[in-house]
Amino acid sequence: MASARDVLLLGLDFGSTTSSLLLASARLEAGGAGGRSALGTPVVRFQPDPVFTPYRAEVIDELALAEQIDAWLAPAGVGPEELFATGCLVTGLAASRSNAAAIAALVERRFGEGVIARADDPCLESWLAFLGSCEWLSRAEPARAVLNLDIGGGTTNPALGRGGAVLATGSCFVGARHFRFAPGSYRLAGLSAWGERLAGALEVDARPGEEMPEAARSRVLDAFISALEAMASGAQDFFATPPGSLLAQVPFTPGTLPADTVLAFSGGVGELVYRLAAGEAVPGTTHYGDLGIDLARRIVASPRLSRHLRSHVPEHRGRATVYGITLHATEVSGTSVHLPDAAWLPLRDLPVVARIGPGSTPAELAAAASLAARRPAGACLQLVDDAGLGRDALRHFAARLAAAFSALPSTQPVVLLCAGNHGKTLGSYASDWGRRGPRLIVIDELPDRRAHFCNLGRPRHGVVPVSFYGVG
């Protein structure tokens, strides 16, 4: 059953300051060595320089963005039908603009059914940044924790991982672009809503059109550094202070971090940090019209934050999010899923209504089925702790599932996601070999993601692409 072919992946990252595109090819191994299906290490095929995210007034300029996408893709010569999966991420401040959803919809129109991953939630961003930047840094020392701080224009997205897997995520409003300047000067061009609140809490003088004093900038940067140092130590104290509480978006609560935790950076500011640490030239102050360069210099000067800048340099040195959305947002199923009719897919925006296990009682399974029944367009259940499910246990569990599903209409799509390689057998028994119950689809060999929603693409090359959002 082994097969392999190269597939194309496209990632789009619309951030507060810049937007990026990445086209990569990866080898899709279906049922090869070890049996699992997987996307192999991608090779970047096309990566134009990032551009400033086009804004019109305070919203993203959709028209300009559409033109930009066309301008990017024309030299690549790739059509939507050639893409195995497309990921689109609207991050940081861009995600808070009023038309963020419209941007994602624009991408979906442009790339049709190829769009499998779409994200505008901060914890998914943290997760993707970790995988895009630190996955192999973390795997190289599997016993050691790695904390990645993805610092962009609007937010900092921390993610703690070990052995290449993400353990905890969060988000805070530490970002370079809350204070916008005329490039090359400190004349304030504007503040974000959080920038205004932070300036108020810190009692600093920040008025658009006027030069922001050095002392004021310092207080803002001090607050940012305090927040970053707090995250780097796993401490919560700072976020209980007035400025700290303003900066917190999704609390990052990893518990006490081990003393040898490796600290890494990504995002636009993270990229600058590594350039400075390597002694490379960086653009002049406020070249990007924000505090990014100043923040990067302060990070390098902080003993607590700079301790691993030279010993542990992550792959790509910063452009983690676009790598993450391109290379890690899409999971692939095993080759032996239970999918009686390929026309049942794709299914989009399926709510994950329950997490069940082989030990779930009939009442728990009935409750899960009842939740699924409220979503006639389809619902998803996540099966956890199913590794090593034996013959008898699998059949008993399937019988309980069949009983729970018996009241569901035959047209109701129900998707069961599981980690073990037993999708076809579990689905076959749970549906009496396709003769009873709802439209049951069992997608196997997927990592366990705590997510609220998932998308399932059409089967391609013998596997089903799956993405998650609403992580956390």
């Binding site: 059953m1 082994a2 097969s3 392999a4 072919r5 190269d6 080898r27 191994e29 049922g31 090869g32 060595a33 070890g34 049996g35 192999g40 290490t41 192999w136 840094l137 795997r139 190289a140 340099v313 992550p314 792959e315 032996s336 499910l389 013959r391 699998l394 390689n421 037993h422 999708g423 076809k424 057998t425 076959s428 028994y429 009496d432 070999w433 003769r435 196997d444």
Partner: protein, 728 residues
């Protein structure tokens, strides 16, 4: 550029009827009818020749045959070309007659015994000149008269060099082909193996990947991967992906970097054409194509790569009555036509049906090396073994020491000896370096300079070469530890990269050997299947009486025991399940208890009529056809243990072969039309890799049930089924 002689212009004497050769040894009379019988009897007894009835039954008979052979002149052999079953000279034999006529005439009057003596006394240049006047059959006849020392002494005089991007085969060198095979062609795993090999100073002959998936897309991608790595590291060597010649030519057409063109050769036309889908004319075209459009066109002098090995003609049953050594020599006489860059001999690859034990494997390798060198080829040697023969790592290492003494041009580098894709065992990079150190040899000159510059080797003031500070450390080729770990994560059976001197560290060797021991045990374990969930099993016997005959004569396992078969009558089931240990009883023990109940549930749910499952120990895949014929089943699902490789867990891997008995009428007509085979009666669909680390048996049950139902619904299996499914 060298132009091969048109086939029609190669003069071959007309075949003659077989003669009877007789002699008497101490009042015992011996008679051999025909040259084929004489040549077969004159060789050391080997498993393949014994199965073919060609080996001498005892030592005296063998010496009698050798005595007769010694007294035959070369002209006698020349005037009696060996023919195929129809009495014709096939294209392989014809090419063997494309010799230097002047050189032949100079020795034609010598007996083989006299020629052997001359070769032992002659200078290297004289031996090389004589070789140009000999056919493969003559080289084979000489090999049968020589002992171990003589095979080494004469071969050692010859070191044919070749030039592609780099020059190889220079005296004082021992090169290697780096073989970074991966079971799924994973680029990270392949890169990890290439870096590992290069760090041990291997790959100066070639970086050559055997693809797991022989499609144009995949081979193209692998060529570009190998090219990218070679260019990035600026390694002075050449690359190749060893797919079928037609696939490589299609890649060349797409602009892929085909530097060296590979093809397996055979000593008879029936195997070359019928099994390898290749002809002399095709290879002529491929040779010309590479000369004009190959990636090294214009600079390389040699660009063809051939692989051969004793026994393939015999295992296909198409050896035309010739012994294994003679068939092998005919491969060399054929290879010579295209002045190859390299020829690699893989005698031992097939298994105990051709070479039973270490001794047979070692001696055949020495013969092959001698014959290839005598016929002017840049011979590399891959003495190898499989776990179901009585060969092992010690025998393999003895073979390499003897072949290094004989001056082999190159060996393989298979990381820690276990090929992860082909489930066999070959020379490792550690072995290559050990042999270089023992025999005072160096890599090819251009490669050596590259390796010295990277600290892999260090050149001393007196010209000797030692391991450098970076020898054996593949991390020197990657940017970070993180990258190395990423690559390594895709590499199965990576037992460690720690080295002591030129050898793997003891803890690495112990892990390797423990895995081999477990895998070998899987083959020799007896099939013992308990009742599963009350499913009644019926036990049948194959024609193989015991484990030894099963391993040594694969054909026996394809047939039911004669007496038993007479008691079977047609049952007309839709599906008949047959369980056999094949080459791993452990595979059955670990998978069937979970898989069988699911499979039967899945088949019954589809309202298919099932025969009572059969257990047939000591079976082979084709037993499915014998069962289908006896019971008149529409489909036989054969659950059978696979040949174990070097990974303990994978030694429990089972396959499900679904043999569909093609119905008469329009289904048969369609099958004949699609396959181009007028005799086709069965089509196969296979689900392999069934084990805990691959497709788990629980899941395999429903997968196979679904495929079986599809086969019966569409009345087709294999490629024809796939094609019908694509058409909807």
């Amino acid at each position: 550029m060298h132009a091969p002689t048109p086939l029609a212009r190669i003069a071959v004497p007309p075949p003659r009827p077989d003669e009877t050769y007789t002699t008497t040894v101490l009042e015992r009379r011996f008679a051999f009818t025909g040259l084929k019988a004489l040549l077969g009897a004159a060789d050391l007894s080997k498993a393949g020749d014994r199965v073919a009835g060609l080996a001498a039954p005892d030592e005296v008979t063998r010496e009698a045959a050798r005595a007769i052979l010694s007294d035959l002149t070369l002209r006698h052999l020349h005037e009696r070309p060996l023919t195929n079953a129809r009495g014709e000279v096939d294209s392989v034999m014809r090419v063997n007659y494309d010799i230097d006529q002047a050189q032949f005439e100079a020795v034609a009057g010598l007996t083989l015994g006299e020629l052997k003596d001359r070769l032992l006394a002659a200078s290297p240049a004289a031996v090389a000149a004589i070789g140009r006047g000999l056919t493969g059959v003559m080289a084979a006849a000489l090999a049968k008269l020589m002992d171990v020392h003589e095979l080494i002494l004469v071969a050692r005089k010859l070191k044919p060099s070749a030039r592609a991007r780099t020059l190889t085969g220079v005296r004082g060198t021992l090169s290697s082909r780096l073989q970074p095979n991966h079971p799924a062609d994973n680029p990270d795993g392949i890169a990890a193996l290439i870096y590992t090999g290069l760090s041990m100073g291997t790959g100066d002959m070639l970086i050559g990947i055997n693809p797991a998936i022989d499609t144009v897309d995949n081979v193209d991608a692998l060529l570009r991967l190998a090219d990218r790595i070679r260019r990035a590291l600026e390694v002075p060597t050449q690359i190749c992906v060893l797919s079928h010649v037609k696939t490589q030519l299609a890649c060349l057409e797409r602009g892929a970097p085909v530097e060296i063109l590979f093809q397996s050769l055979a000593g008879t036309e029936r195997v070359l054409t019928g099994e390898f889908d290749c002809t002399v004319e095709l290879l002529d075209r491929a040779y010309q194509e590479m000369a004009s459009r190959g990636a090294l066109a214009g600079s390389a002098e040699n660009w063809m790569y051939f692989e051969t090995g004793q026994g393939s003609e015999l295992t296909y049953g198409k050896h035309e009555g010739m012994d294994m050594t003679t068939c092998e020599a005919l491969c060399y006489g054929l290879a010579r036509r295209w002045r190859p860059y390299m020829v690699n001999n893989v005698t031992g690859f097939i298994g105990p049906e051709t070479h039973l034990d270490n001794f047979e494997m070692i001696f055949s390798n020495l013969q092959d090396h001698f014959m290839g060198k005598l016929l002017g080829l840049p011979m590399g040697m891959a003495p190898c073994y499989t776990l179901h023969s009585r060969t092992g790592i010690e025998g393999h290492q003895m073979a390499t020491q003897l072949l290094a003494a004989a001056g082999a041009n190159f060996f393989m580098d298979v990381y820690l000896t276990a090929d992860r894709m082909l489930a066999y065992f070959d020379t490792s990079g550690h072995d290559d370096q050990t042999l270089r150190e023992v025999h005072g040899l160096k890599p090819a000159p251009e490669y050596l300079r590259w390796a010295v510059a990277r600290g892999i080797f260090a050149e001393q003031a007196d010209g000797t070469v030692e391991r450098g500070p970076n020898w054996g450390n593949p991390r020197v080729f990657v940017a970070s530890e993180a990258e190395w770990q990423r690559l390594l994560a895709s590499l199965p059976a990576a037992h460690g990269h720690d080295n002591v001197g030129p050898r793997p560290a003891n803890h690495v060797s112990r892990r390797l050997r423990a895995n081999l021991a477990v895998a070998r045990e899987a083959i020799h374990a007896e099939l013992d299947l308990p009742v599963v969930e009350g499913i009644a099993l019926r036990w049948l016997r194959t024609a193989a009486a015991d484990k030894a005959s099963h391993l040594n004569d694969p054909e026996l396992g394809t047939r039911l025991d004669d007496e038993l078969r007479r008691h079977l009558s047609p049952e007309g089931a839709d599906v008949q399940i047959v369980i056999s240990d094949g080459l791993s009883a452990e595979a059955i023990h670990h998978n069937v208890p979970d898989m069988l109940p699911v499979l039967m549930d899945g088949l019954r749910a589809r309202n298919l009529r099932l025969g009572q499952p059969i257990v047939a120990p000591l079976g082979r895949v084709k037993l499915a056809e014998a069962v289908a014929e006896a019971l008149q089943s529409r489909l036989v699902i054969m659950l059978i243990g696979e040949r174990p490789g070097g990974d303990a867990l994978a030694s429990r891997s089972m396959s499900a072969y679904m043999a569909y008995r093609i119905e008469d009428g329009h289904v048969l007509e369609h099958a004949v039309r699609v396959s181009g085979n007028p005799h086709i009666r069965y089509e196969y669909t296979v689900v392999s890799n069934i084990y805990a680390g691959g497709l788990p048996p629980l899941e395999a049950g429903s997968v196979v049930a679904e495929k079986a139902a599809r086969i019966l619904d569409r009345r087709a299996a294999g490629n024809r089924l796939e094609s019908l499914m694509r058409e909807g």
